[in-house]
Symmetry: C2
Subunit: 199 residues, 2 copies
DNA sequence: TATAACATTAGACTACAGTCTGGTCAAAGG
DNA sequence: CCTTTGACCAGACTGTAGTCTAATGTTATA
């Protein structure tokens, strides 16, 4: 998910190197306690290099977050054969997404992303309807209409938006909590209720 | 909702004055284009004064946002006699909340609040279960169980959390959008679906 | 009233995200 | 081979949120 357009091999390497060092420092000391100056110092690069490859400090996390969509595809493919009906797949997939976000990203990263995404117009990833995750969701809903396991919805598009809002809400809610409750555990009731309502 | 503990009358006046000037400047030039330096200059105060009364720039908005809970109480009281059953009250109340947030606060203010709340541990308002809005929600759900208009829920507490996540999600989703779609319009399908599911 | 304790205020100062400028290097086209 | 274009990089610089210190006002209590 690293930006590949007009980048030299060396450039890509630098970008990856900065990213690795930065993520390492964030993990060790926390996002707020690591400055860009320190990142460029420890990675033996410079401010100019950093901002050549990342539009902002938070976009280091954004890069990782965007990569997650590739994982969703794999998750969906693995999960698909396990459930006979689309509605079951939809429910299981949603839980997997929540699980994956917590395990692979972690709360701090998600907090930074959610905090940045809503104030910067730079991040259009969330609103991009061609995002892989969104495509999968719509696909499963479509399947559910076809196999008649999903009923009681106005349209694929509307229910897909309902789901997106719910997932955003569950994650945001989780991000607010200072305790260690699991995202999947917190978000499950909402998803469950929605799934129940379209059965 | 201005912090009253250990404040002199003069202090409160200063706080209110700063708040008025700041909100005025934000409305005129946008939050990001108004610095704290400018606020203290135009309000003829000082940095020291500003941070005596506000823990951060964004908390000016937070103050306003917290005041909104008083409005919710009034809204609920006015709305209460219009609907015979609790489930109808719950649905109507949720829409009113969304409506109110857009009208009284506006998207920019909510963006700033949502962006700040999830990264700063300073803001416990969202997670405080004694928040007026949350009390009202639980009360209506309780009423619904009593008058038997609400069924199919595991418990008041769980469904209340479902609702809170949904409202957060709807607002966050709205905040992400660059267009001018109304919050109430965007969030309505999710609320409707949930209400339907507990009927 | 005197004084201690604390709220208030001013403004210099710090830390840090992000910008800008100027230079180097690699590759592509003539 | 030369030149042009643009990616890459270094580091000085800027703007701004938030801190610190020291002075001043206010209030409660001895």
């Amino acid at each position: 998910m690293v930006n590949l357009e007009n980048k030299t091999a060396k450039g890509i390497q630098t970008q990856l190197h900065i990213m690795e060092v930065a993520i390492g420092l964030f993990k060790k000391h926390g996002y707020d306690n690591v400055s860009v100056d320190r990142i460029v110092k420890e990675s033996k690069t410079s401010k100019g290099s950093f901002y050549q490859h990342f539009p902002s400090k938070s976009s280091i996390f954004m890069n990782r977050f965007m990569e997650l969509d590739e994982r969703y595809i794999k998750i969906y493919e693995e999960l698909k054969p396990q459930y006979p009906t689309a509605i079951e797949r939809l429910e299981a997939f949603c839980y997997e997404v929540l699980h994956c976000i917590e395990e692979d990203m972690g709360k701090e990263l998600m907090r930074v992303i959610y905090s940045a995404a809503i104030i910067s117009n730079e991040h259009t990833f969330f609103t991009n309807e061609d995002r892989k995750l969104y495509i999968i969701l719509r696909e499963i809903i479509e399947d559910g209409i076809k196999d008649n396991s999903i009923k009681n919805i106005e349209s694929t598009y509307i229910f897909y938006k309902i789901l997106v809002q719910s997932i955003l809400g569950a994650i945001y809610f989780w991000g607010l909590q200072l305790d260690n409750n699991k995202l999947e555990y917190l978000g499950r009731p909402l998803i469950k209720q929605l799934i129940m309502s379209i059965r």
